[in-house]
């Protein structure tokens, strides 16, 4: 078994290499045109790796300068990640203008609630404000993506393979970050090196998923959207469906009430 620090450095080098490969595929498939936010996000992570590596080399791993650069960079990366997630959501919902507005409001509310929940659940531990904020943002990304998938499932929205894989990658990465941050908060002293290693390993797995999705993506891959219906038809039929559903529900309620009054 190798030295944990060497292992971490190896994983870091490999991850950076994968990021470059992904960037290459994004350029080759011209996906920087259709997915500019995702492209910027990958570019930012590569630049951050270089900046953080330089900071560690110059000031050392435990210095306050390196700490500031790492967490400052993390803030920038999370912001670009948020933009990439918003881009995916927009692409999934773009063809459905009616429910797109509904979903936007819902996802915004979910994101804010998740952030608030995360900060409240941290029990006002302001000494770890950076860690809490980071975890809160990851949680809001994870919750928004899960809500997006649930929303798409509920309304039977087709999702293109590329968007689906990108979203799955982001979501799993965010979920793992929540676990990783929480473990770091609890066992800080003994978990430091392992925390870094696990973080890199998670991103490594996510990058592999994204590379596969981007590599297999073809321009011909499109999602067929049925012809839209008029707002009048929607209003009429929507009301009609609700009446029918109400009656079915009422029937079930009568069954229950009669049964309860007899038993």
């Amino acid at each position: 078994m190798g030295d944990p620090v060497n292992l971490r450095n190896l994983a870091w080098a490999l991850t950076t290499m994968l990021k470059v490969i992904l960037l290459f595929y994004l350029l080759r498939r011209k996906l920087y045109r259709s997915h500019p936010a995702f492209f910027i996000y990958i570019l930012t992570t590569i630049l951050m790796s270089i900046v953080v590596a330089s900071a560690y080399r110059h000031w050392g791993f435990q210095s306050i300068q390196s700490w500031n650069i790492f967490w400052g960079g993390q803030g920038v990366v999370i912001c670009t990640r948020w933009l990439a997630v918003a881009e995916i959501a927009r692409k999934i919902l773009a063809n459905y203008s009616g429910i797109c507005r509904l979903a936007s409001r819902l996802l915004l509310a979910v994101g804010i609630c998740a952030l608030a929940y995360s900060l409240l659940a941290s029990q006002n531990n302001w000494q770890k404000a950076v860690l809490n904020a980071d975890r809160g943002l990851e949680m809001s990304i994870g919750m928004c993506l899960v809500s997006l998938f649930l929303f798409a499932r509920y309304y039977r929205l087709p999702i293109a393979a590329l968007e689906a894989y990108l979203a799955i990658g982001f979501c799993l990465y965010s979920c793992f970050w929540i676990i990783n941050d929480s473990m770091y908060e609890r066992w800080r002293a003994s978990f430091g090196t392992l925390w870094n290693f696990l973080e890199i390993l998670t991103f490594f797995a996510t990058l592999l998923l994204w590379i596969r999705a981007v590599r297999e993506h073809t321009e011909a891959e499109t999602v067929t959207v049925p012809a839209p219906v008029s707002p009048e038809a929607y209003e009429k039929l929507s009301l009609e469906v609700n009446v029918r559903l109400h009656l079915l529900n009422e029937r079930l309620n009568h069954l229950l009430r009669t049964e309860d009054s007899r038993s």
Binding site: I99, C175, P228
Partner: protein, 191 residues
Amino acid sequence: MTLSFALFITTALVLVFLLVWALRPPKRGLMSTSEVFEALSEQRHYARLPQILQALRVEDTEYLRDRGHGELIHRIRTERKRVALQYLERLQEDFEVLLEASRILAALSPEVIPMHEYERFKLSLRFAFFCRYLRWRLRLGLQPWSAFGTISDMAGGMTLRLEAATARLGERATMASEFPLFLEKGRGDSE
């Protein structure tokens, strides 16, 4: 500290579980727009309920009990349980088809009414819960067929109400669609 740790780990695991659940392929294939309209216009299973329920009336078994046909009662009850479960399945099927049609309709509409969508979501949750509850009661042998028998009287009335409600809606929709046309004509005349 321990509470927040547990909360975060649980939340992350729940998120992963929900993600996997949301990614499962759907049971039913995607309906086309024409299938949606067909689903909304055709007669559903619940319309045939009065005939089914008529056969489930509790008086039938009381009569047999008076005559001392214990085994026959048992057989009839088992059969009724099967029929009741089948009815619940059909009811759920009707509900799901309507729900599916409404979702596709909402997805294809350039504007949706959030209250309609919320109302439908609430109804679907309630229905799913109570349907499961009733099914388990049936399976556990809690004799819910007595309840089925009692509602047979109101089932016919319920179907009539449904038809009346749908007809009213149809009238209203026709009026609403004719009204702008009338206005349009009026404007044209004044020019």
